[in-house]
Subunit: 304 residues, 3 copies
């Protein structure tokens, strides 16, 4: 018990591999272990799908789940962030699933917690490690291994926590990373980073075995980082035609902005892995909870 | 598994009869089956009592329940309706309970779902089939059969999904339907529809074996469909005096506008069936979940 | 089954003692009874920590829990308070946990409920009895008995439901009570009330074995009851220095206004009992639910 789950680099290749394998074993398990643990789901930034995915994962493992979103919580009453986390820990939560709009907030949170393990469910623009693991699990389902596979990440990489976690994990797993983004939304990477950079989405899709399409936050337009929706769509949108011209699989962390970064109909394209990502999301979160709350089961029950 | 639950006419008399009988058996069961299924409760329009009734029904059947209301959900982030439903299905929900303010939205939703079964918990002004079933169950508790029974539906029938579902189900079960509504709130029915029309609420109550009183939305006043609250109350309200002058049982789908369409004290009148409706609501929703998620149990465990 | 849980004086010393002992037994129980009851948590005033504490207590006892907060509930639709409570009862809730901003609302609520037991989770400025019980449990953990112990209650006693419940319970348990508050926030007590009154927080802390520090609602400043935050802090705040100069234990019902009535760092002072209060909160609420829903277990299973 108790090792925080904060960022892909901190997790390291071994814990990531364990979680990826555990999720696959859970997919084929008739019965899953009933942990009887307490899991607190604390969302200071709204997100229906990630919240429900964690709640469901915890319920399937026979956990007691308490859940709150900041708008309905006592944040209004001036309860401090640290105070809330300490309270959840004192109530007996073994794991606290945290979503927060401030990058790095999970590190501040982790320092407050001596007993409960913190699980990062997305912190600002920094990391979203369970998303990267479910993306990797989905790609492994199709490719068996990521070694040498070409993964294009398309869209607003600069502001994306999904990008940062995917990039770290995919590299760890031996994939080649390609990036296709408008000039002002390119991520800041070391000059010698081993990535392919694309300005043409068709070239990126032709190069890629799979493409992760990122959400375009509409605020980027207001900020002048993208000239217009129409321009973005013309140059970077993963349209049905573009998918059909390529042979790449398509992933998206959801929720999709239909008709902006991805065509609505693309979600159901034969090479779309989006529904599989959602299914794997629950499995990955179950694996994370087991690995944190009952690590002895990883070997004993799952022989990993 | 998998037949959507959308409208009373689509369900047909046989499924409705099965659910009505199953609810009655559940009332007297010491132990109910534990389904272990996943039920998603997706409310895009607020409603405490219907949401809690479904959540409780699912919990009593040992289901995992994930629940969200649109104001706290990612609808804000532009997540499309169809995307949300597909996500819930991909998370493994066998049943999705949907409440939406748009009439007919359940049909659009059903087309999106290939595996999960959709349960209509009220769509705009169109249908509210579990309400009709719990109303019928309540009337059956008192009358044994609805054949030839006179049921008056009183109030704003034009805008009421409860009216539409009740009307369809009560007719199916052999009841005679009476309607008492202000002229501008009369429902559009075929000219030859076999209904009694009443303009005087006392005459309707004298005629009826039971009366379903509908909520008057305050917006109807603003829209000029009702001259004034005082006028509505004088001509159509089911007051304590009017109940006492009649011998009809009184139902109301809740929540009551006390002193508008129904006196507050009428809720506890000896001939009020309102508390029984709420109790039956949980039983009907349990029956619906069993019939959808584990139809084999209907015969095997309940011998229906 | 069925004795409401409304105020400390109504509960009386015997029920309070039972609950305090039961909570202590639960702390050391390997397995707790699984009640299979239905618990409704109805919060008409927001409070994350109290809501989660009750939800978790109910879950650990194997209860079905339905929960709502007024902003997301049908209160918007004009559903009356009494109607909501009757509905929860008709759904089969054996216990209804109520938080409401109106002092005395629990008494009105209790009159409506013939079968379900009402549990007061805080009503306006009147009472918060589970808070008093968890405070007492926490003090008993440290002192063994409250007989003759000196407990200072510091801050806005006038508007505090925690003050009223603590005061009643601590006296019942034989403690000496001290009050330290600004002149306009002193509670109205009988002239001959056996309390020590302090105007100097250092003198109060020097006198006390333990101090319960109350939240200062920022509205008090606006109302002119406190000259300024700076003045309040200088004269009444329980700062780290003041704690170190005394030998008193420190309690706070949470959430803390850091730097107003209590220093943020004081929460983790060696003599802070704040985390223990939160842990005991879940135990006390489990004890209350058992004592109300399954009173036969108190003797049979716990030998109290």
């Amino acid at each position: 018990m108790h090792h925080h789950f904060l960022t892909i680099p901190q997790l390291g290749i071994e814990r990531c591999q364990t979680i990826l394998r555990l999720a696959e074993k859970l997919r084929h398990s008739d019965a899953v272990p009933q942990l009887g643990a307490t899991v607190a789901v604390a969302f200071f930034e709204p997100s229906t799908r990630t919240r429900l995915s964690f709640e469901l994962a915890a319920q399937r493992l026979g956990c007691h789940v308490v859940s709150f979103s900041a708008p309905g919580s006592s944040i209004e009453k001036g309860e401090s962030f640290a105070d809330t986390l300490r309270t959840l820990q004192a109530m007996g939560a073994q794991a606290i699933v945290l979503r927060h709009s401030a990058s790095g907030s999970v590190h501040a949170a982790a320092r407050v917690l001596a007993r409960a393990a913190l699980i990062n469910a997305g912190d600002g623009m920094a990391e979203h490690p369970t998303q990267a693991l479910l993306d990797a699990r989905t790609l492994l389902d199709v490719f068996g291994s990521l070694d040498g596979k070409r993964i294009a990440i398309i869209g607003d990489c600069l502001h994306s926590r999904v990008f940062r976690s995917d990039y770290a994990l995919f590299q760890m797993l031996g994939a080649q990373i390609g990036i296709c983004a408008p000039p002002l939304l390119m991520p800041h990477l070391p000059k010698d980073a081993a990535v392919e950079r694309f300005s043409d989405v068709d070239v990126a899709l032709a190069w890629a075995d799979a493409a992760v399409v990122l959400r375009l936050q509409r605020e980027r337009m207001a900020a002048g980082l993208v000239p217009s929706l129409a321009d973005y769509r013309r140059r970077y949108a993963v349209t049905l035609e573009r998918i059909d011209r390529s042979s790449a699989y398509v992933l998206h962390p959801g929720p999709v902005n239909p008709g902006v970064e991805l065509d609505a109909a693309a979600v159901e394209h034969p090479r779309s892995l989006i529904a599989r990502q959602v299914t794997n999301g629950v499995l990955i979160r179950m694996a994370v909870l087991i690995e944190i709350v009952a690590p002895e089961l990883v070997q004993q029950s799952f022989h990993i």
